[in-house]
């Protein structure tokens, strides 16, 4: 069986059945969410930019935490996943720009992380691991064959965050 490799771009949500490697590359304040139903073998990933929609009718559900998690969960359910079995891992949400002077409302990274955590809770999805905050841009990778979620920064190699199974 071949493994599908999928790059999840900004504001995108990807859902797949079977063996797949999904990755969000270059997460700054954006948050990557990997999710799997290990029994149904349905996996997904979202690359979330903002906590909430600025426009009334968002064109891309993957862009906002408030719409992306719901879209990810529902799309996975359509492929046979069961909500009660879903587990997730979260990476990204860095503080863009260094120093203590960034006003709270501009701290997009932490606003994104908080919004994602609230949405996971709302959808009753367990979060098995997270690597968030700091000042480094990250790449989040999920290999559905092994269940391993890894995080890499520009100056450090892949590090195991958790295993989703």
């Amino acid at each position: 069986m071949t493994t599908t490799q999928v790059l999840v771009r900004l504001a995108d949500v990807q859902v797949l059945e079977g063996q797949a490697v999904l990755a969000c590359v270059g997460l700054g304040s954006c948050v990557g969410v990997a999710m799997v139903d290990p029994i149904a073998k349905v996996s997904g990933m979202a690359h979330i930019m903002l906590p909430d929609a600025v426009t009334a009718k968002p064109e891309r559900p993957g862009k906002y935490a408030t719409t992306a998690i719901n879209y990810l969960v529902e799309t996975m359910e359509r492929l046979g996943a069961q909500r009660s079995r879903l587990i997730a891992a979260v990476g990204g949400g860095a503080q863009v720009c260094f120093g203590p002077t960034v006003p709270a409302m501009l701290a997009l990274g932490s606003r994104n992380v908080q919004a994602v955590q609230e949405q996971l809770k709302l959808h009753k999805v367990k979060c098995a691991g997270e690597d968030v905050g700091g000042n480094a841009g990250r790449t989040l990778t999920f290999d559905s064959t092994t269940g391993k979620v890894t995080v890499r920064t520009a100056t450090s190699p892949d590090r195991l965050l958790c295993t989703l199974r």
């Binding site: 700054g28 863009v96 260094f98 000042n135 520009a154």
Partner: protein
């Protein structure tokens, strides 16, 4: 480690791969602030350089502008697209060839430096369009050029950036402070030096110099403020992040000076992706 007794001129003189701008493009940029700048003078400057003319026409005829018929010369493109658009196209066409190369020293792959610079230009222009504290075209050009110093410094940082980041974390330094510690100069200072050597208007030299430290500008420079905030927005979405990552300071005073609030930033971020994707299509045509 490199001796910090090197002078900025030495660094620039000893760098073989310096960015260059054709004379015609320099004339177009130098005229940006001029009250006598007109469609005719912009067309004249571009028309003096055949290669630049060809590149501007390719961009003007790209799918991005969706013109009903092809434009055949610069005068016609100025009439159809407007003088400001064509002026920006000339600057974009002149910087794309060298800005799209990888910068090993900063761990930037092909086109990453370009994507980052272009996105900062777009964000700075969008911000300036919101509050009009400076000409949006000036903000665009300054955004495009803000990191030219990285092109010159990259070769000096090859194989050093991990060690630099480790020291920066240990000593709680921003990356531009770390550049100064290692080389004696930051990429902002090197970029401003280059812009000055090219005789670019002061507004650009200072916007490049103060893009990471807008509070240090001796007089208010709203263009530097827009670029500072545009850089923040572009880093936020992780576009063209190198190994120096997000390790730069943000000055909220810049927001106050140009009357931008967090809702404006969210709005620019929200519309930014669509704008960036459509611009990227312009360059797909350009490079095909």
């Amino acid at each position: 480690m490199i001796s910090s007794t090197l002078k900025l001129e030495d660094i620039v003189r000893k760098t073989s791969d310096l960015p260059t701008l054709p004379k015609a493009a320099l004339n177009v940029i130098r005229e940006t602030e001029s009250p006598t700048s007109s469609a005719a003078t912009v067309a004249h400057h571009i028309g003096m350089d055949q290669a630049l003319t060809a590149r501007v026409l390719r961009l003007a005829n790209s799918a991005y502008f969706g013109l009903a018929r092809q434009v055949g010369d610069i005068q016609e493109s100025v009439v159809i697209l407007g003088m400001r658009n064509v002026r920006n196209l000339a600057i974009v066409a002149s910087t794309f060839p060298w800005m799209s190369k990888p910068l090993k020293g900063y761990r930037l792959g092909p086109r990453q430096m370009w994507t980052h610079s272009f996105c900062v230009a777009v964000a700075a222009k969008e911000l300036a369009l919101k509050t009009r504290k400076a000409d949006p075209d000036l903000a665009f050009t300054a955004g495009l050029l803000h990191n030219i110093g990285k092109v010159a410094l990259s070769v000096w940082l090859e194989n050093k950036i991990e060690a630099m980041m480790n020291v920066a974390v240990r000593e709680n330094l921003t990356f531009d402070q770390m550049e100064r510690k290692l080389l004696g100069f930051s990429h902002a200072e090197v970029g401003a030096y280059l812009a000055d050597q090219w005789s670019l208007p002061k507004v650009f030299v200072e916007a490049i110099l103060y893009h990471h430290s807008p509070n240090e500008s001796p007089q208010p420079n709203p263009v530097a403020d827009y670029v500072h905030i545009g850089d923040y927005i572009t880093m936020s979405v992780g576009l063209g992040l190198g190994a120096d990552g997000l390790r730069y300071e943000f000055y909220p005073e810049a927001l106050e000076r140009v009357a931008i609030d967090h809702a404006d930033i969210d709005e620019v971020l929200d519309s930014f992706l669509e704008a960036q994707e459509s611009y990227e299509r312009m360059f797909d045509d350009f490079t095909s």
